[in-house]
């Protein structure tokens, strides 16, 4: 458009009255993106990121492996791949939801066993399903604040060994007496069922989304698109048929299955209510896995000769009503857009965790996101959602896919139990 035409469009927009659409700030949007793509010495960059394969809870390859042992595997591979001197890593944050005591003791021990010297500090943290992302964001913030120079954000979960009723303690009378507070312990399946009903998300739509997740994942797996992000891990595994313990190498997500269609999912019985719409096939799988991300300033990475895979730009966290926890990404993503100065058109890939097909579809539709940009390699429905690990896993999934496609800007986001959402902006290089 010529300058005069642009002005005319802008001014004629003023005449539309209350029914007007807000004119996009032409030039600014691309300027926001251009600003994101700039490389500055104080950028927080990712120089290595990886994950273990995700395996089915109770029967997959990691069913007998402790969370801390998977973490050791992920840390060892991270050191090996990045060739970082482990003595330079000052802090390690590990997100994990289920372990008693937050896993603080085991994770410190795991870091030592993986080859980090005693000088590398370790903390565990728990923001439910966003723990892995929170761990990366905490490390990034600590680096930009100058508290540390190099750190690792990680996430791990053994749902095989630690998933169960013990994960939440009894609520006191005081908590039970407050309505919004008592809602915090409503099980995820039950509240998602209610939300799907309230928001009118039909089962058909959920099944179609879930089936496409499976189909995308199997295509990606067959094309080897997960190979870069997955670090194979050798573990002991008890063969349920023979009862013997074998040593196996786990290098593939075993939840990914061929031949799943919306029709085949349509036959599964709902899990949480007779007339419900949510079932095992359109909710995330129970899985085991670990992931880790190595973060530092660009100036540090250049000094050490580290390969820069991408950078961390901004993150947001938002609270929503506990019963509507599934809408978390809908609250968090616009918030992170504002922080990063971009809009949805500037983003090439959205990695939005598929806790339930219902909530993921609702958020995407409500935000008006292009379905082709969401989870291009499938998501938690197809390969699993080891709670605390997912946020750190998304970083690898996103950055490798952006790099493969030659695209730049990505978002990772997830809903968080008890009513929250988190989102972060990443740029691949």
């Amino acid at each position: 458009m010529s300058a005069a035409q642009k002005r005319l469009t802008q001014v004629s927009g003023h005449l539309a009255g209350a029914g007007s659409k807000i004119a996009p700030t032409e030039g600014d949007s691309s300027a926001g993106r251009a600003k994101l793509l700039q490389k500055n010495p104080d950028d927080i960059v990712v120089t290595a990121c990886l994950r273990t394969a995700f395996t089915k809870g109770g029967k997959g390859g990691f069913k007998d492996t402790h969370a801390a042992d998977m973490l050791v595997g992920a840390f060892k591979s991270l050191i090996e791949r990045s060739k970082i001197d482990p003595g330079l890593v000052e802090d390690i944050a590990v997100g994990s939801v289920l372990p008693p005591g937050g896993g603080a003791t085991e994770f410190r021990a795991a870091a030592l066993a993986a080859g980090f010297p005693v000088s590398a500090a370790v903390k565990s943290l728990n923001r439910q399903c966003s723990s892995g992302l929170q761990a990366c964001v905490d490390i990034a913030n600590a680096i930009s604040a100058g508290m540390i120079e190099i750190g690792v954000g990680a996430g791990v979960e053994s749902m095989s060994l630690q998933y169960g009723p013990g994960a939440v303690t009894e609520f006191s009378e005081l908590l039970e007496s407050h309505p919004e507070s008592a809602n915090c312990k409503v099980p995820m399946g039950v509240l998602s069922e209610k939300m799907a009903k309230d928001k009118g998300i039909p089962r058909k739509v959920q099944d179609a989304f879930a089936a496409s997740s499976y189909q995308k994942a199997i295509r990606a797996q067959e094309a080897g698109l997960f190979d870069e992000e997955i670090a194979p891990l050798k573990v002991k595994w008890e063969n349920p048929k023979t009862g013997e313990t074998e040593e196996i190498t786990v290098s593939k997500d075993d939840g990914v299955r061929p031949g799943i269609t919306a029709e085949s999912l349509g036959k599964i019985k709902p899990a949480f209510a007779k007339d419900g719409s949510i079932h095992a096939g359109n909710a995330s799988q129970i899985s085991d896995g670990a992931a880790a991300v190595l973060l530092m300033k660009r100036s540090t990475a250049e000094r050490l000769g580290q390969t820069i895979l991408g950078k961390y730009v901004a993150a947001s966290v938002a609270g929503v009503a506990p019963l509507l926890m599934g809408i978390g990404p809908w609250a968090a993503i616009p918030k992170v857009f504002e922080k990063a100065g971009i809009n949805k058109d500037d983003v090439d890939i959205f990695e939005i965790n598929e806790a339930f097909a219902s909530q993921c579809v609702w958020c995407a539709n409500e935000l008006g996101l292009d379905m082709n940009k969401i989870n291009p390699k499938g998501g938690a429905i197809a390969f699993g959602h080891p709670l605390g690990c997912t946020g750190a896993r998304q970083v690898s999934t996103l950055l490798y896919e952006l790099r493969r496609r030659g695209e730049k800007v990505g978002i990772t986001s997830m809903c968080v139990g008890t009513g929250m959402g988190m989102a972060a902006v990443w740029v691949a290089e």
């Binding site: 005069a4 003023h14 009255g17 209350a18 029914g19 007007s20 700030t25 300027a31």
Partner: protein, 359 residues
């Protein structure tokens, strides 16, 4: 009284803060879409309005501000993203200073009324910039990420800047805050109202409106926390930034098309003047003066405020309005796309009861 900006469609008018007989007007050829701009320094006397100085600019010009420190200088923002400083003491017709940092149309400029040593500009490029007229580069850039039609310094504070933009938000920046990722932003007020919190059962339901582009705003000259905003949705709202989450204090409904320019009276704390694409300029009371008729409190912000009078002389979009600081309290100037600058008394369009409030 009337002046014709022949061939140029008016965009803004401002009374000199020094002389009651001097006005500055910016106008642009072809409705500001393409072509030259022109800056008029006008003098008023018993014989009418005459042009004292005329400056031509290569691109359209959209807003101006009189320098608060020098009675001969005006600052002008234009379509090519430039800001120009003209000085009537200069013998030639060229700007004495020019700043080129904005990438798009500069739609507003406003002088710091307290320290008088800086001014602020806003642009369609999604930024607000703070300038010192003696320095060649801007002092500070405040991003809004949205086409910003209007920005202003708070009249009583040297460090508070407000801006309204096409994203339907009123932003308040406080330069005393530490520089950080927030870029001095202290309030981000959705003019259309806060969305209801999903799932929340707290608080009474509040009426919300669809977001719409905000085109103009002005700080009240007496109540230094009150700001009026208006734009494409035709409503004028007042906000009290002491309670930014409370939503508008008053909503003035009446204009039939977008409101292009607002100005609070320098004399009466509840009175404001608006110019609109509906070709009228209207005078309003926001209902805050002690003599206003009492109203039931439960009717919400739309119950406040009254239209006091309407000026129908212009035959095109009214784009600029301003109050005279001196003399009788009702004198205003308006400019419009009909190539006319009108100087008139708001009392002439009011009923005698309202008119009697102006001395």
């Amino acid at each position: 009284m009337e002046f014709r900006t022949a061939g140029y469609n008016g965009y803004a008018v401002k009374y000199s803060p020094y002389f009651d007989s001097r006005l500055a007007v910016v106008a642009s050829a072809n409705f500001g879409l393409v072509g030259n701009g022109r800056v008029y320094i006008l003098g008023l006397d018993a014989n009418g309005i005459h042009a004292e100085r005329v400056y031509d600019t290569p691109d359209s010009v959209y807003d101006l501000a009189w320098a608060e420190r020098n009675e001969t200088q005006v600052i002008v923002g234009g379509g090519d993203g430039s800001i120009k400083l003209f000085d009537t003491k200069s013998p030639d017709n060229f700007p004495v200073q020019e700043w080129k940092e904005h990438n798009r149309e500069v739609y507003s400029v406003n002088y710091n009324l307290v320290t008088k040593d800086s001014f602020v500009s806003s642009s369609w490029d999604g930024t607000v910039k703070v300038w010192d007229p003696v320095r060649p580069n801007s002092l500070l850039t405040l991003p809004t990420h949205s086409c910003t039609y209007s920005t202003a310094f708070a009249p009583r504070s040297p460090s508070i800047i407000s801006a309204v933009s096409s994203d339907s938000h009123l932003r308040i920046f406080d330069l005393r805050t530490n520089p950080s990722s927030a870029n001095h932003l202290v309030h981000l007020i959705p003019i259309h109202g806060y969305p209801p919190m999903p799932g929340s059962t707290y608080g009474p339901p509040r009426q919300t409106y669809a977001p719409s582009e905000c085109l103009t705003h002005d700080w009240n000259k007496y109540r230094d926390t009150v700001i009026a905003t208006a734009g494409v949705d035709q409503l004028i709202r007042t906000f009290d930034i002491r309670n930014p989450k409370a939503g508008p204090v008053a909503i003035l409904r009446g204009h039939d098309y977008a409101v292009r320019k607002l100005s609070w009276s320098p004399h009466l704390s509840d009175v404001l003047l608006s110019g609109s694409y509906d070709m009228t300029a209207r005078v309003w009371s926001d209902g805050s003066n002690a003599n206003a008729p009492s109203r039931p409190a439960n009717l919400g912000p739309e119950a406040w405020g009254d239209e006091l009078g309407r000026m129908n002389v212009h035959t095109e979009f009214v784009t600029g309005v301003d109050w005279c600081l001196f003399g009788a309290e009702g004198w205003v100037a308006t400019t419009a796309w009909d190539e006319r600058v009108c100087v008139w008394d708001v009392r002439s369009v009011m009923n005698p009861a309202n008119a009697s409030r102006f001395n």
